[in-house]
């Protein structure tokens, strides 16, 4: 599949799906009720951080910014522009001045676009709230990817409205689309636009996508991983470990459909995997218990793993509203801000 860069929007995208106007797409994915709640979260977030950082957050990274941090001995190859000539004058030794960097909180939203995200049992018209019965990708159901789109839009909206930067990575077996981090409001529309038309049909390779993403990020970021995480727990653990190693923070949003949580099928039905799994014809009632045990075990493993790294985990059902995950996000961001100030 050819990879191309949308210069006008700064969106690198793959696939041939028709790109719609971001405004329209954003309205599809952000239900008026959701948008209304967003504002309150924003206010609440502002109330929480106001008076502490004024919208700015200290970075744990030390660079060459305004506020002096310390001196260190010069080594050949250092930029001579940062030499502290006053210290050289007094001690005849070359030292470099180091300053504490001031930066905004960068949010990188990683949305899974693998085939399994295409499942959804909820009607699109009911979920979108705008009376449209068909998604921009042509589906009649509100898929997990649609829910992930809405969540990503909400997260980036909060972030951008606070003046922070937000970016998007759409991945499956690799990065499929990318929106560079920015605090401009147009970026938010780019994020929604990129998600609304993105094809959802590839297998998952979280480790590879994470490696590709962190290679592009040099500063400390908050990663919001939005996926159903129907993949090998070891692969998830390895990916999180790498993110942790690079000092990033992570919030895991596991998107699941109610059918997947309950498995309430009652008649013998053939099931076909969305990521190339073979077709099986089963009596769902006979396998429900075993399925639910496997499903729950996986979810618990995912949560345990996530929390083991000190990250947050939130399961999100496509039939539920976005309040709980957004609250989790705000709480997490606040915690990160505290770490930034005192760490």
């Amino acid at each position: 599949m050819a990879e191309h860069m949308d210069i006008r929007r700064g969106v690198k995208s793959t696939g041939s799906a028709e790109v719609k106007r971001p405004e329209e797409d954003a309205s599809l994915y952000l239900h008026p009720a959701t948008l209304a709640r967003l504002r309150s979260f924003e206010l609440r977030a502002k109330m929480i951080v106001e008076g502490i950082m004024s919208g700015q957050h200290r970075s744990p990274y030390q660079g060459f910014s305004v506020e002096f941090a310390q001196h260190r001995p010069y080594v050949p190859g250092d930029d001579v522009r940062h030499l502290d000539w006053k210290v050289y004058a007094r001690t005849d030794k070359l030292h470099l001045k180091q300053y504490q960097q001031e930066t905004n909180l960068d949010l990188v939203v990683m949305v899974d676009s693998s085939g399994s995200m295409d499942y959804g049992s909820r009607k699109f018209a009911e979920a979108s709230g705008l009376g449209k019965s068909e998604s921009p990708r042509g589906g009649m159901n509100w898929s997990k990817f649609d829910h992930a789109t809405a969540l990503a839009a909400a997260l980036s909206y909060i972030t951008i409205r606070q003046g922070d930067r937000a970016g998007l990575v759409v991945y499956a077996d690799e990065i499929r689309a990318l929106v560079n981090r920015s605090s401009a409001m147009g970026t938010w529309r780019q994020i929604v636009g990129a998600l609304s038309t993105h094809p959802v049909d590839h297998p998952t390779d979280l480790g590879r996508a994470v490696d590709q993403t962190i290679a592009k990020v040099t500063n400390r970021c908050l990663f919001a991983l939005i996926s159903d995480f129907f993949t090998d727990p070891d692969a998830i653990r390895a990916a999180l470990a790498r993110i942790k190693h690079r000092g990033h923070d992570v919030i895991i949003f596991q998107i699941v459909d109610r059918d997947e949580e309950e498995f309430g099928f009652t008649s013998t039905t053939p099931f076909l995997g969305l990521e190339g799994e073979p077709l099986i014809r089963i009596d769902p009632r006979a396998l429900r218990q075993a399925y639910l045990e496997a499903f729950q075990s996986h979810a618990e493993t995912l949560e345990r793993t996530t929390r083991g790294f000190g990250f947050d985990y939130q399961r999100v059902s496509t039939h539920d509203w976005l309040g709980p995950p957004l609250a989790t996000f705000v709480a997490r961001r606040n915690a990160q801000m505290k770490r930034s100030k005192f760490g």
């Binding site: 295409d118 049992s121 309430g264 053939p270 076909l272 009596d283 396998l287």
Partner: protein, 752 residues
């Protein structure tokens, strides 16, 4: 085990494929759900794959077994019986085919019952397994005859034998067939296997005599019978032809062109539904003689509703020529007549130019003239051939009459003199010794008439012992004459005997004998059977004229020869009969009817053994030239087909004509109650199952038998019901519907 509805069973077995087909069709119809969380579903599926497959197989097997049980129940299996169709142990099929006269009855389609029986028999044979099963055929046309017996495994040959079965004119002999079959089964026990007895008959009145007991078949033989014809058939048949005289006198050639006329009573019978309706029948009667055929006489019978039998009296003339003749009565037209074979009746009759009578009496001495009223012989000669005696001088004279009298002296009796006599009159029995009486017996055995008068003597008469011994008579003659006080004569009130010497004159007889007085008689004290007395004394009822066939053990109605005893001499001292007008008709009727009765007729009913002249060695069919029956005096040879047969002696010369007529009993086409038939057939074994031929495909199948308590349909249905409950439980259990409750909503997942 027998399946009453094997076709249903086959269809039911085919229905077992229904759940499988439905399952396959459902697989095709249902669109797959594209599922995201396939990882966990596959994990659960792999973990429980074996158990699920086992559950599905168990459920499928339960459902198939359920349908199979229902199919088996609908097929009405019967335990303990062997089916005509089915595999397993070898089957021996005994087919009893009714080819009797009744089986010739045709239906509206023109097909006879025998044709249907043949078709059913062929179907039954086709249901057998070539190489393992055997079949046997017994024809029921009486007497029953084995066609293929012992059973043969050459089923094609058996089927061919069935095709070649021809109808007989006799009644069905199921009891004889069962008796023969019983013997065969006792011999065939070593063969083992299943034994099925298939009785193919319509069980009409003529083909099933429900009063005849059937022997019980040994072993586990299954009796299957074709369903009785509950509607019956309509049939009109001639059941007898009774000429008033058995001997017709044609006179001298050229003297009378048409010969003596005689009245013939033709008896007809209707049976079946036609009895309740009015109908019409036309008969034609003729006499066929050696030199031609008499003119045909025709009569019509108008049947009134409810009349089963009628008699038409037809006057026929003797055929030209002397010798054996036959009265042939034919039913030429009748409404609703389904059997043609019983529309003709053949009655042999003797056509004679004259009767030759031997008068055994001492010759009159020369010079004796005139009639001696004390001599019985003189009166007899006058009464027998009035025209041959000069009434004045009582001298014999040449006269052409119907009766020729030959006077034979008792001392000169020999076989040659007696050989051509039709009758002998014995007015002087005391003059015969034992040898003489044995010759008289020979005359009687040859079919002659022996008329005995007691001598007008008051002495003890010992000759009666010789008569009783020689003629083998049960009569107990008195030895001394009894004096009467002018007793009068009358005819017995009830005359139901076949020997009725005075039937032709019984209207005038009372007036004729009224002046007759009997003063003396030599009575028969005992041993007289009803019907043997032809005339009796009005006062005492003692028989004055008796008649019976010689031979103590034989019935007087069927035996050859006839002995007539006049208890009173014709002497004027004993009775004034000789002086009365009654003498001539009494003596003449005694002669003519007696000769006819003594000669008898060589006739019999189909299925019986015909009485034939003693010198005959074989019978040759007059109508079917090639058919010859060799007569074996030691073994009775039955004749099953009606027709005229020529009895031939060793030299090839004709010894007489034997008529075989269709058995009137076989022509009865009245329907009989199926329950009675079932009960009757049931005496053969444990119940009877009906067989019917399905029209069109020719397949045979056992008919449902509501009273059959050996059917296992109900237990099978109960088992199917129980299995259905088990299936419901298993289906819910295997779907875990009993284990966990879950939402009944219809998934709204993405459908491909």
């Amino acid at each position: 085990m027998t399946l009453l509805h094997p076709i249903l069973f086959g269809a039911g077995l085919a229905c077992i494929a229904i759940p499988i087909v439905i399952h396959l069709l459902m697989r095709r119809r249902r669109k797959p759900v594209k599922w995201g969380a396939m990882r966990f579903l596959l994990e659960a599926y792999r973990k429980h794959k074996s158990r699920l497959r086992l559950e599905q197989l168990l459920l499928l097997a339960t459902r198939c077994l359920l349908i199979g049980l229902i199919a088996a129940a609908l097929a009405r299996p019967i335990l303990g019986a062997s089916g005509l169709i089915g595999a397993g142990q070898a089957t021996t099929l005994y087919i009893l085919v009714d080819n009797s006269l009744t089986a010739q009855a045709t239906g509206e389609d023109g097909e006879s019952a025998l044709d249907r029986h043949k078709e059913a028999a062929r179907d039954a044979i086709e249901s057998l397994t070539v190489g393992g099963d055997r079949a046997s055929v017994i024809a029921l046309g009486g007497p029953a005859s084995p066609v293929v017996l012992p059973p043969s495994s050459d089923l094609a040959g058996v089927a061919q034998a069935i095709d070649q079965l021809t109808p007989t004119d006799s009644r069905a002999d199921l009891s004889g067939a069962i008796s023969r079959l019983r013997s065969e089964l006792s011999l065939d026990q070593e063969e083992g296997g299943r034994v099925v007895v298939l009785v193919l008959s319509e069980f009409l009145a003529g083909s099933a005599d429900l009063t005849a007991a059937l022997e019980t078949l040994a072993g586990d033989a299954v009796v299957v019978a074709s369903a009785p014809d509950e509607a019956g058939r309509s049939n009109v048949s001639i059941i007898g032809v009774d000429p008033v005289r058995s001997v017709l006198l044609a006179g001298e050639a050229g003297e009378r062109e048409t010969g003596q006329q005689s009245s013939v009573a033709v008896r007809l019978r209707r049976s079946g539904s036609i009895v309740a309706a009015a109908s019409a029948s036309t008969i034609r009667v003729r006499v066929e003689g050696t030199e031609g055929t008499s003119p045909v006489s025709e009569a019509s019978i108008e049947w009134t509703p409810g009349t089963p039998e009628a008699t038409a009296n037809v006057v026929v003339s003797a055929a030209p020529g002397a010798g054996d003749g036959v009265i042939i009565a034919e039913l030429v037209a009748s409404d609703e007549d389904t059997i043609a074979a019983d529309n003709t009746w053949r009655r042999p009759i003797e056509v004679r130019r004259s009767l030759k009578v031997g008068l055994i009496t001492p010759r009159r001495l020369a010079g004796e003239g005139g009639l001696d009223p004390t001599r019985t012989s003189d009166w007899l000669r006058v009464a027998l051939a009035p025209e041959s005696v000069d009434r004045e001088t009582f001298a014999a004279r040449e006269a052409a009459g119907d009766v020729q009298v030959v006077v034979i002296d008792p001392g000169s009796l020999d076989s040659a003199r007696l050989a051509d006599l039709d009758a002998v009159f014995l007015p002087s029995p005391e003059m015969l010794d034992a040898d003489g009486w044995s010759r008289m017996r020979a005359v009687a055995d040859r079919g002659g008439l022996v008329v005995i008068f007691p001598p007008a003597s008051d002495r003890v008469q010992l000759w009666t012992d010789l008569v009783a011994d020689a003629m083998d008579l049960p009569w107990q003659f008195a030895r001394e004459a009894v004096e009467l006080d002018g007793a009068t004569i009358t005819e017995p009130a009830r005359r139901d005997a076949a020997v009725d010497l005075f039937s032709l004159i019984n209207v005038e007889l009372e007036a004729l004998v009224r002046p007759v007085r009997v003063r003396k008689m030599l009575p028969v004290a005992g041993g007289v059977e009803p019907g043997e007395a032809q005339l009796t004394l009005r006062e005492s009822g003692a028989p004055i004229v008796l008649a019976r066939a010689p031979g103590n053990g034989e019935s007087s109605t069927t035996g050859r020869g006839l002995v007539v005893y006049f208890a009173s001499s014709l002497s004027i001292e004993w009775t004034n009969l000789a002086a009365q007008p009654a003498l001539l008709p009494i003596i003449q009727e005694t002669l003519r009817q007696g000769v006819g009765r003594a000669h008898g007729s060589w006739s019999t009913l189909a299925g019986g053994t015909p009485r034939t002249p003693t010198e005959a060695v074989e019978l040759r069919s007059e109508e079917r030239q090639r058919e010859v029956i060799a007569l074996d005096r030691s073994n009775a040879v039955p004749v099953r087909h009606a027709g005229l047969w020529r009895a031939v002696d060793r030299s090839g010369a004709s010894a007489g004509v034997v008529a075989v007529n269709a058995d009137p009993a076989g022509g009865r086409t009245d329907a009989q109650s199926p329950d009675l038939v079932r009960s009757w057939l049931g005496s053969m074994g444990e119940g009877v199952r009906w067989l019917a031929a399905a029209p069109g495909d020719g397949a045979t199948q056992l008919i449902d038998d509501p009273s059959d308590n050996a059917s296992v349909s109900v237990p099978l249905l109960l088992a199917a019901l129980g299995l259905a409950v088990v299936e419901v439980f298993l289906a819910r259990w295997f779907s875990h519907a009993l284990v966990s409750k879950r939402a009944d909503r219809v998934p709204e997942g993405i459908r491909a």
